[in-house]
């Protein structure tokens, strides 16, 4: 690839969030998570372990904060200073937000993490040199580094358990960064399948592992530019704009009965995940 080539393809290579004249087409993968439905049962997290060959690091490494869970369930207490959390807790599944203007992408010295045209924040493990700048610059801290060579670490995958590993995904070795990929292997497989029919994916044809398993159906995943898709309708109903950094909800007029929001939006990473507030009964 020559300098000329580099210059030609720079825009593409450095594809960030779409300005209105260049919308995502035909895909923009996005998510919507309803905190009112989420019960914090951790099924999604386990599904992620199962689907994505995530190593179980064990007690000591967990203690050192070297755990690898791509999807973590956070538990927040109401901060009203009462003796008991008598309105329960709020659970929040937190995974890579697949930001449109991802802070991690611009800083990677080797371009190992960059934006795909279908709006994913992809991570090329074999290009990563392990500078960890991406993680340093991630506001959500959802990137996980392979501090050890987990595949060969004792009791991570004993011989029998290696048979469970998902062959569709690279097994990450020592010194590379990894994170939630929106189950890119499923997306790519789906795309290949429908390409043969010369059409695009319909809503529900590709499911992420977490969405598929969620007992209360709190997670919705799909193609945001497809008006038929659930995720599109949800975003629309909550009047959340992908390219906006302030939503209806936050504005004075109207929007007060909306629940949709994106976390740390004020930093303008333009996350692809919309959360919907947990509701609490006022009558009791």
């Amino acid at each position: 690839m020559s300098v000329s080539n580099l210059l030609e393809n720079w825009a593409e290579f450095r594809h960030t969030h779409p300005v209105n004249d260049v919308p995502h087409d035909p895909y923009k993968w996005a998510m919507s998570i309803d905190l009112d439905a989420c019960t914090g049962c951790n099924a999604c997290s386990v599904a992620c372990y199962a689907e994505n060959n995530i190593p179980v690091v064990g007690r000591d490494k967990f203690q050192h904060g070297q755990v690898m869970h791509w999807m973590r369930i956070e538990r927040y207490w109401p901060e009203d200073g009462r003796d008991f959390p008598d309105q329960g807790a709020t659970f929040l599944p937190m995974m890579c937000q697949q930001c449109e203007a991802a802070p991690c992408e611009t800083v990677c010295p080797v371009g190992a993490t960059n934006h795909t045209a279908d709006g994913l924040n992809s991570q090329a493990y074999n290009r990563c040199v392990g500078s960890r700048y991406c993680s340093a610059n991630c506001p959500f801290k959802v990137r996980y580094f392979n501090w050890y060579d987990y595949p060969t670490t004792e009791n991570v995958w004993p011989a029998e358990m290696t048979q469970q590993l998902n062959p569709d995904i690279t097994l990450r070795s020592k010194g590379v960064m990894e994170k939630c990929t929106f189950c890119v292997q499923r997306i790519r497989a789906g795309e290949r399948a429908v390409k043969n029919e010369g059409r695009i994916l319909r809503d529900g044809e590709v499911q992420t592992a977490c969405q598929q398993v969620c007992p209360s159906g709190a997670i919705t995943f799909g193609n945001l530019v497809d008006p038929e898709s659930k995720v599109h309708q949800k975003w629309k109903a909550q009047r959340v704009e992908l390219n906006a950094d302030e939503q209806e909800k936050d504005k004075e007029e109207g929007g007060t009965d909306l629940r949709g929001y994106r976390i740390l939006e004020e930093l303008r990473p333009y996350p692809s995940v919309m959360y919907m507030e947990r509701v609490r009964e006022s009558a009791i």
């Binding site: 199962a50 008598d86 209360s216």
Partner: protein, 735 residues
Amino acid sequence: MIDNNFDRRDFLKVLGWGGAAVALSGCGNTSVEDGKETVVSYVEVAEYVAPGISVYFNSTCAQCDAGCSISGRVREGRVLKLEGNPDSVINRGKMCGLGQAGVQHHYNPDRVREPLLRSGDKGEAITWDKAYTLIAEKLNGVSGDQIDFLTGSISGHTKALLGNYLESLSSKNHFVYEAVSPAVQRAANMKSYGMEMPRFSINKAKVVLSFGADFLGAWVSPVHFSQQYAEFRKGVDGKRGVLVQVESKMTLTGANADRWLAVRPGTEGILAMGIINALGVAGLSMPSNVQEAAKPYDKERVSKDTGVTTESIVKLAAILKERTPSLVLLGSAAEGYAHGSQNAAAINLLNQVLGNVGKTLEASAAVPFPQIAPTMGNTAALRMVNNRLADGQTKVLFTYATNPVFTSPAELKFKENMAKANFRVAFAHYLDETALQADLVLPLDSALEDWGTLVAEYQPEGVQISVQQPLMEKLHPETRGMGDILLALIKQRQPDAYKSFDDYYAYLRTAMLKNKSEFANSGMDDDVFWNGVLSSGIINVGGNLNKLNSKPDSSIKLPAPAEQDAKYPFTLIPSVTANLRDGRHANQPWLQESPDPLTTIVWDSWVEIHPKKAAELGIVEGDIIAVESKNGAINAQAYLFPGIHPDAVSIPLGRGHEAMGRYAKGYGVNPFQILDRVFDEETGELAMHETKVKLSKVGKRVIVVKDEGFAGGAQHGKKIAMTKSSDQVDLSEEV
């Protein structure tokens, strides 16, 4: 010359061991490498099996008794992942974390691989023939009532076969034991509704008042209830359902409640009566005898006894009266006391008073085939076996799908009593605490390599018989399915009766075909029918509904709340977590590493103490606390937890194994050990919540291994997990 109709198991053959090896080299190597690895290739193969293409087979999850139907992703003959089977009415394509960890049960490196015979304190490997003959020897000369079978909850054809075997031994001693089970509730339901386990339609209720029923976590059929819960939140007609949870230790369900009421341990019944009383005051019409019964429970007294404010009682009554139908659930938290049955009765009474019976609480269908209907375990069974062992009535003891040595209170001395039997056989997956006490350990197939059927106790609609079939060939050649073992054993007694079945598969197939007419039109061709069953993985049978009785029974004798014991001031609540339950799955790393939802602690046990109380006692997070009951003490790290009544402390069950395997052994402590020997007066169930303990610091402090950071559950003004009050949202606008 090639016969193409080969045995189905053929294409479950494991291929591409290379595949695993490939995976392991990860992104380490950066160049093309030729001739290092072997290519996946088959001898014979079904047309739809191709390398690189996954095939899905339906089977049944055996991680708990809920009977979820699963669909296993199989590739190159290896099962990779378990997903939900969409056709199942129980889990509708969904799963819980526990269920998904089933693959780790299957691939577990610590499984028993061949029959072990005790020699000294070690086990030596023997052949199956030897094992069988050994059993035969030990059994002859032993009369039927000296042979005990202690199993966990059991259903399906395994149960039928086991029944036949016991018959052939002319033994009636089949004891079904579950350390954690809603047994008291079953009895109470029998009384109040005329059936042990009615159907709860959470999705139809506008208000759900749950007395410690952790239906989102570990209660009865969590995956099913979680889906109902989602609908319930969306609301019947845009009106979002309200969940109120009453318990002394916040469960996962409690954490999702709109209002969580910390009730003084053991006073759930009183609160229920108090609400009935308040309802009466609010003008809800109810039978006079009920009114009478509820009279003494005026809100001041109830508030005093339970620690719930009069205001919340009134509000609660108001909303229950206003929004119908509602649903009152009764969970283990309310049952686990000496007066558990009374609590249960009171709570069921509330349900009846509110007129939910028949609306949100409906009749369940009876399983048409009693011989495969589930027999659910309880703790009374353990008590009986223990006594029999203690007085030496039991000569030969078989244990299956249960780990009494681990789950019984130390005071029962089960381990010692077990030693009194002459011959102890354990059917086991791991060398767990019980298997270690056995003379003969028979290794079982995992649920993913074995045939079987499972009928769940809780049936949301009709009756679903879940079929279990191998998803891949045996991982370890010397393991056997429970069915096959039983068959072999029966053949010892009645060779001719069973000689037509050369294995359990044959037995199962025949048994199913025998009742083909029940499942499908009898004209159907056998193979067609059978293949249909295998591909769907489930059989739905109508089953006629049990008779629902809703006559309120107001004869309730609730004791006054117990005075605080000066010596043992705290009530110990052994909490049941969704992942570990009674600890039989503790050796599955995913479950150990997936954080406890409420405390986010992993790989260890902890003591939950209310921050106020901790401050009084000068306890901070990470202090090692000695929790001491009359029957011993266990040391665990303290965790300051706001969701617990100050008079109570809580330790999760399931950890603290001394055996079982690398991921279970030595992690955490086992609260079963220190439970007091108190039983429910009516049912004789072990009263799990009656243990009184005292706390003392041992002067050590550790870093609590948890996911939650320095800031705990606080957000420091950042808009991260936001909440809204229900009057500010309009769910009807949402999609």
